[in-house]
Amino acid sequence: MVGIDEFFKSSRPAPKKKTEPSGGLTAEDILATIPDAHLPDVVEDKKFNFFAHAKATSSTGGADTPEIPSAKENCLSGLTIVFTGVLPSLDRDAAENLAKKYGAKVTKSISSKTSLVVIGDEAGPSKVKKIKQFKLKAIDQEGFIRLLSEMPAEGGDSEAAYKAKLKREDEERKILQQIKEEEDAAQAKKLARQNELKVKQEELVKKAASSNRLPPEPVKEISDDEKLWTVKYAPTNTAQLCGNKGQIQKLKNWLDNWFDNAKHGFKNAGPDGSGIFRACLISGPPGIGKTSSAHIVAEALGFDVLEKNASDVRSKTLLNSNLKEVLTNTSVVGFFKAKDSNEHNKNDKRFCLIMDEVDGMSSGDHGGAGALSAFCRITKMPMILICNDKSLPKMRTFDRVTYDLPFRRPTEVEVRSRLMTIAHRENIKLDPTVIGQLVQATNNDIRQMINLLSTVSKTQKSIGSDEAKDVAKSWKKQTILKPFDITSRLLNGQIYLPNSNHSLNDKIDLYFNDIDFAPLMIQENYLSTSPLGVHTQPEHLERVALAADDISLSDQINSLIRSSEQQWSLLPFHGVMSSVKPSSEVAGNINQRINFAGWLGQNSKTMKYQRLLQELQYHTRLRTSTDKKELRLDYLSLLSKKLTLPLVKQQELGIEEVIDVMDYYYLTREDWDSIIDFGVGQDKGDVILQKIPTKVKSTFTRKYNAATHPIAIYKTGNSVTSGGSRKEKVDYEDVVDDDTAKDEEDESQADSSDKIDSKKDKLIKEVKPKARKPAAKKKKTS
């Protein structure tokens, strides 16, 4: 929104009354009448107003929704408002929407540009500090409501509001201009198209007449009205793309200079470092114009676009056979154009490959990502890869070989003019303030917003802010939350307040987003909050204890669910006990970064130690008469001393003694390491190992390896040589790899032989055993 307000900036707090038109009410006048809210921990009490304080504390008790006055239109225009803490009876989201509805700019963090802060309970200390630092006006909920009811329309006559108004008008003018331009362009295009069709038609008729045939049917043209809005209003030039201007420019530069770079063999990085890449990777969430940008940029530069997407099979074999040849081709499109018709003549014979939805390569596309990243290193024509999530493990192979262009979600301002243009052309009355809500509901997804408009407009021709609220609610995209989001929502105190409209079912649903990770994440992070309404440490400790109780009880339930009993009907109960209840005890401000569950790492460590211990027990069982547990508790600490002290005290001379002990217990050299690893406290592995000089250690290893040692029990698995079992183990993955390797060899040979066809065809099952033989052979020779 139009926030340019520096009116209440600390540097010039004096009222600007003199410069204003006479008789006008300003935001500051009204704000001055509203008492300041009480700031917690005020060091130097600026303007402490006991009345407001009393009111603020008394109003925290009631949970009933206060009556919100109907304010005048755009009355908060030009103000930048920050909401912090828990407002006594207004939901934070509701309050923010209210402010936005009346034209204020709502931001999350406090800066010098903030004009006022609406403060509630439990406001973060850093925010309070900032308020003091910038000497900002802070009001409580009641003050906010009063502000709403008293502000005149259009934000009064203050300079800021005036500026905001000017800016808004300016923007409207711009939109109108854009609409006109687009309409003209559409009209011109239509005319041109009609002319073209007419000419074509005449030609055809002429041809038909000359060869005495019936004139053919007129070519059918799909009219704009039958298209989806997302197609109808798809951007046609770079100016129409919303947001990411910088990245699009980068893409353009890279593509434009591609062949110059190719001449230098991709050695010169160039000013923006893009010169060394043969491919680029556009990444970003859906619906923000990634594919559109790639197509528009490539077409604007006169490239012939070849697109592959997730609806094509893109396995390694197919990429190898289909794409490889294409990469060195030239396009014939250029030959069909008149020489002087196109300014980008030099690019006319050039291809550009767009690989869409690279992260959509899945089960059917075996080895596709690897093959694609290999192409990125050698390609002879520019490749543009597009994906949603660059952080996925399977996308890591593209990290070094592609020019990274992350696209961001466009902001409200960037989207607004485009949406207004569309609404205007479709004759829908769209309230500009509604766009903010749409942006929020769709997660800044332009395509979704256009879809939404097109559907809603079927029945409603004007969309005001009240209708938009319902619309936005039902259109909210539902996606599965990531473990981190689940944790931050559960541990955030907001959802447990009586006036929050989250039912218990909503909270359990959070758990059901990821039933495996939610409990682990809560267990990892439940200590790092400061619970709401808790001020002393013992109280906090009590809450933590309650939460810990619940978590441990939930473990009992978990064992019933996942053990052989498989009582999955207990799952909702497990959700309550493992996630909802503990977090309801400790929910509040989250003080630290949310950590990933450490349980997984610890668990695998436990398993490893169990395995080592098992091995030790096997080896020593002729000399010891205990089970695994007893061995760890009774024998190992002593053994550890016996195996290390001689080395520490007598250095090289102690080696003999240690080896004797090892032989007596049938321990191997690896067992020596693991016994030391088991040490805790003073005897911790690292501590002991530090005491033994490296020279002694290496002599010890050499001496041990030089002699043969008694082995009590052979593991059965080891006695069989690997040769026999190998052959059966050749799995599909190996087959595919070797298959493609073979294909590459075959390519160098004659292409005409029939064998290759059957081999390339994945659907022929009989090929598999055939392919296995060369695979096995290869392993033997290597």
């Binding site: 039958e226 197609v231 969430p285 059917g364 539902q478 996606t479 207990l570 109960f573």
Partner: protein
Amino acid sequence: MTKTFSTLLELPWVEKYRPHKLNDIVGNEETVERLKRIAEDGNMPHMIISGLPGIGKTTSIHCLALELLGPDLYHQATLELNASDDRGIDVVRNKIKQFAQTKISLPPGRHKIIILDEADSMTPGAQQALRRTMEIYSNTTRFAFACNQSSKIIEPLQSRCAILRYNKLADDQVLARLLEIVKLEDVKHNSEGLGALIFTAEGDMRQAINNLQSTVAGFGFVNDINVFKIVDQPHPLVIQKILASCTNEKNIDKAIELLDGLWNKGYSSIDIVTSTFRVAKTLPGIDEKKRLELIKEIGFTHMRVLEGVSTYLQLCGLFAKICEL
């Protein structure tokens, strides 16, 4: 019963009385209104209809397709795949793509329609493969998805579609439809019976009609006793009364009396505990903290019952404990 045996062996009533016109669809007026406009104007957008089972998602899509294309073109220009069909990535890449590419001459404003029922059971890979197909062939082909959980549809597909959410049907909407059927089928009933049907269906029209048919087939007369015999579920209202008397009035005797009623009807303790759990989640008039404590107690009893201790004493213990809270 005046009916002969043969007339009882007809189609399930849910199929027999499935609406064939958008006008006949009950509930979700606003959304259905929108669909009607689409059916008139043509140019149907891609859409996802999501909502609970039995509220008319699939029916609406079929009605819409039928009204858009007419009975002649309907079979030619629609492709319907549901969870019983193979919908792996290969089918999306071959069958669906081919259908999208085929040319069928349709009147202006009409498009081929691909109906993907139960789309939430499609694998993410298959959904990924739909993305560009939806865009490239959008001039000739439109997609309609029906699903229970829209969160199981990957975000890029949601972004391409109009998302229509269906809400539970209101009780009077279900009742109106039931009365219609009752009249057409000439079923003997009383109002308590219909009330019980509506109550047990919880806004699920299909279940209400199925239960109605089973009750008629089993007893021939629809009253609440017969309905609860068919549905066989401890009456949630009774459970709610028990919980209320425990939490608000602290009156254990009254609670036990009501419990006896349920127990003597022959409900097993597992049925009673699970419906207590469900009722407690939305029990009005208690604050969140207490509700969680309540659920904790019920849950542990549930555990014990599952472990095999499913005695009457356990249930009494549960309600006594709730009184203590």
